[in-house]
Assembly symmetry: C2
Homo-oligomer: 196 residues x 2
């Protein structure tokens, strides 16, 4: 159940260097009356195969450093035929081999199943933290399509959208089914019901 | 100048989960009379484009946690035509797309230049730390060759070795020119001259 803006607005501090991500998240959370404040501090990310663990450590360290309750998100594209590559290192891999590199690795590969996963971590300076996860299944397309979204969106076709990629969906369409949308809605439901 | 075993042996604690790496390092350091003790504690690695920074943070955190002086190494293969991919995430990328994935990405690519880089970090519980770097240039081969070494060794041809890959060299031959050999010899020279 979505709740419309009520009397008292809650503020969440979101640590990220990705403005595209911020735009999506701000739009999801505003439906819950949550105002999001972007903090562009370089977050410390550990190397780990679990995006939940990466997000949790980032949030905990930042909450302690800033002495504020902090939200972070770690996300990745996990391709079955590539054993979960590019996974937690999607950002570096996007910057180096990019969309074309993934398509080259997938050329001639029949099994095109993939998942986008998101882990949202909320942490308080006291050390308390919580994780909210979301994922969406789809196929890796044969060519890149669309110019919306960011990252690997142009090659991810979520199931049930007639082969359209994330980059061919509007922000609201993408948010409705995306890994990030799912995880942040779980967070929002919890956050607005949380007793301060 | 290499120094042969002298009266007093020094011990260095080496944090790693890679036994192949340990074997190479032990062999390099024994020429300096340094005995290396492997500690297979899962080291915490941050995500960073600099292997120096990754090694430094790992060493510092482990030195504090263990209350011991600690040596760690971070290494990676940096391919020019792939903008430094697989770089600091060589281990994850080896486990997912492997040697064959790199060869597929490089198929039809003319510029095959690459570097193996190593960063050795030494840290004390006091917080003091030092970094030693090494690198070696070569080409990415067209096919995988050899069964020695580990990781991406079968596709890296160091310059001056008639096209032989790291996996076709003996450990001593590889150590003599490798990124790891260079970095650890710098460390060893400093470590044995260091006043306790």
């Amino acid at each position: 159940m979505k709740r419309k803006n009520s009397a008292k607005r809650k503020v969440a501090y979101f640590l990220s260097n990705n403005v595209n991500k911020f735009r999506e998240v701000a739009r999801i959370l505003e439906e819950y009356g949550i105002v999001i404040a972007l903090i562009k501090l370089k977050k410390k990310e550990i190397q780990n195969d679990s995006i939940e663990e990466i997000a949790k450590v980032s949030a905990e360290e930042a909450a302690e450093e800033l002495n504020l309750p902090v939200v972070t998100e770690d996300a990745g594209l996990f391709i079955d035929a590539l054993n979960g590559f590019p996974g937690p290192y999607s950002s570096f891999i996007y910057r180096t081999i990019g969309v074309e590199g993934i398509l080259k690795l997938m050329s001639g590969v029949e099994n095109r199943k993939a998942k986008f996963k998101s882990a949202v971590a909320y942490a308080e300076p006291s050390g308390k933290s919580r994780i909210f996860s979301g994922e969406v299944s789809g196929d890796i397309s044969v060519t890149a399509k669309g110019d919306k979204g960011f990252g690997f969106d142009p090659i991810f076709q979520p199931y049930g959208y007639e082969g359209r990629t994330f980059a061919e969906l509007d922000t609201d369409e993408k948010n409705a089914i995306s890994h990030r949308g799912l995880a942040f809605r779980k967070f929002a439901e919890w956050y607005i019901s949380k007793v301060r």
